[in-house]
C-alpha cells in the first residue's frame, strides 16, 4: 500500500478515500440540477454532505467561536446563490471548499486581520519557534491542545493548506484550486508549516528528555 501511495505520488488520505469509495460525478450532477430548481430537500442533502468540510475550514480560520456557525450558514447561502455558475470543472466539494475559504478570508479582512501575505519568513519563524514555553505538559491531551494552539497561531494560508491536506485528504492540485495558489506554493506551505511546528514541538521534547 505504501509503495503504491508513493508510486502514484498522491495524498495518501485521498488515495485511501478513492480506494474505498469512488465518488460518482453524476450524483453531484443530479443533486445540483435539483438544487438549481429550488428543491429544498436536495439543498438540505447538499448541506448535510458538505457541512463537515465547511465547519473544518471555518473552524480553522475563524477564531471567534460565536461567529463560526453564522459564517457556515452564509457559506451555504452563497453556495445556493452561485450554484448556477458551477460548471463541473472540479468536484463539488472542492468548489464548496473554495467558497468557504474565500468567505472566511473576507471575514478575516472585515475583522482587519492581516492575511494577504505570509509574514517575513525568517523573523516571524524565529519568533514563532522561540515564543511561548509550554512548561510541563504531563498528559497527552495537554500536548495535543498545545499543538492545536500552535496551529492556530500560523498564518491562515498555512492553516487552510494543513486542514485541506490532512483532514480532507485533498491533493496538491485540489488545494491549489481552492486557495488559488500554484501547486508548488501549496507544497511549500505544507512543508514549511509542518517544519515550523516540528521545531517548536522538538524544543519541548528535548526539554522533556533532559528533565
Amino acid at each position: 500500500m505504501d509503495r503504491l501511495k508513493r508510486k502514484l505520488s498522491v495524498n495518501p488520505a485521498t488515495l485511501e478515500k478513492k480506494l474505498v469509495s469512488n465518488p460518482i460525478m453524476t450524483d453531484d450532477q443530479a443533486l445540483i440540477s435539483r438544487v438549481r430548481n429550488g428543491d429544498q430537500q436536495a439543498f438540505k442533502m447538499l448541506i448535510k454532505q458538505h457541512q463537515r468540510l465547511v465547519a473544518h475550514m471555518v473552524g480553522r480560520l475563524i477564531k471567534q467561536s460565536e461567529d463560526r456557525e453564522e459564517i457556515c450558514q452564509d457559506v451555504f447561502l452563497k453556495v445556493f446563490e452561485k450554484i448556477s455558475e458551477f460548471g463541473f470543472q472540479s468536484r463539488l466539494s472542492t468548489w464548496i471548499a473554495t467558497i468557504a475559504y474565500r468567505h472566511s478570508i473576507n471575514c478575516l479582512r472585515r475583522q482587519k486581520i492581516k492575511f494577504s501575505e505570509i509574514p517575513e519568513e525568517h523573523e516571524w519563524s524565529e519568533r514563532f519557534v522561540e515564543s511561548d514555553d509550554p512548561g510541563n505538559l504531563l498528559i497527552d491531551k495537554d500536548q495535543e491542545e498545545w499543538i492545536l494552539k500552535l496551529i492556530d497561531r500560523l498564518p491562515p494560508q498555512y492553516k487552510a493548506v494543513l486542514m485541506l491536506y490532512h483532514l480532507e485528504g485533498m491533493s496538491y492540485a485540489e488545494i491549489g484550486s481552492v486557495t488559488e495558489m500554484p501547486e508548488g506554493t501549496v507544497k511549500n506551505y505544507l512543508f514549511r508549516a509542518r517544519n515550523l511546528l516540528k521545531e517548536k514541538v522538538k524544543q519541548y521534547i528535548d526539554k522533556e528528555n533532559a528533565a
Binding site: Q51, A55, C72, Q73, I147, H166, V201
Partner: protein, 127 residues
Amino acid sequence: MSEEEIQNKIENGWVGEGPDAKAYQRIFDVLKKEPDFQLPADFADSVIAKWQPAQITSSSREIFWIFIGVAAFTIVLGIAVVLTEFTLNFGALKFLSDHSGLMIFGIVFVLTLQWIDKRFVKRTSFN
C-alpha cells in the same frame, strides 16, 4: 535524511526514533484529529430557515422587475403609436389586422403550452 524525506516517510507510516521524527509524529497525529468546532445536528434546518425568506425576496424581486418591464414597454408602445399615428394597414400587418381572431388564438395557444410545460413537464423531470 532531509526534512522533506522525514515528512514524507512519516506520512507513509514510518515510525522514526530521533527527536525530529518523534516531533513530526505528534504533529501529524494532531493534524488528523477532528477539530473541536462542530455544527449542531439541526444545522441544515437553520440554513433552510434562512434560505426560504431569501428565496421569496428574490422571486418577488423578479416578479416586480418583470411587471415594471411589461408596464414600461406598454407605455412606450402606446406613446409611439399615438405619436406616429401608426395603423396596421400594410403587408403582413394588414393580414394580422384582418385575422385578429387567429392571432389571439395563437397567443393563447403558446401561453397555454408554456404553462403546461412549466406546471407538469419540468416539475416531474427533477422530483
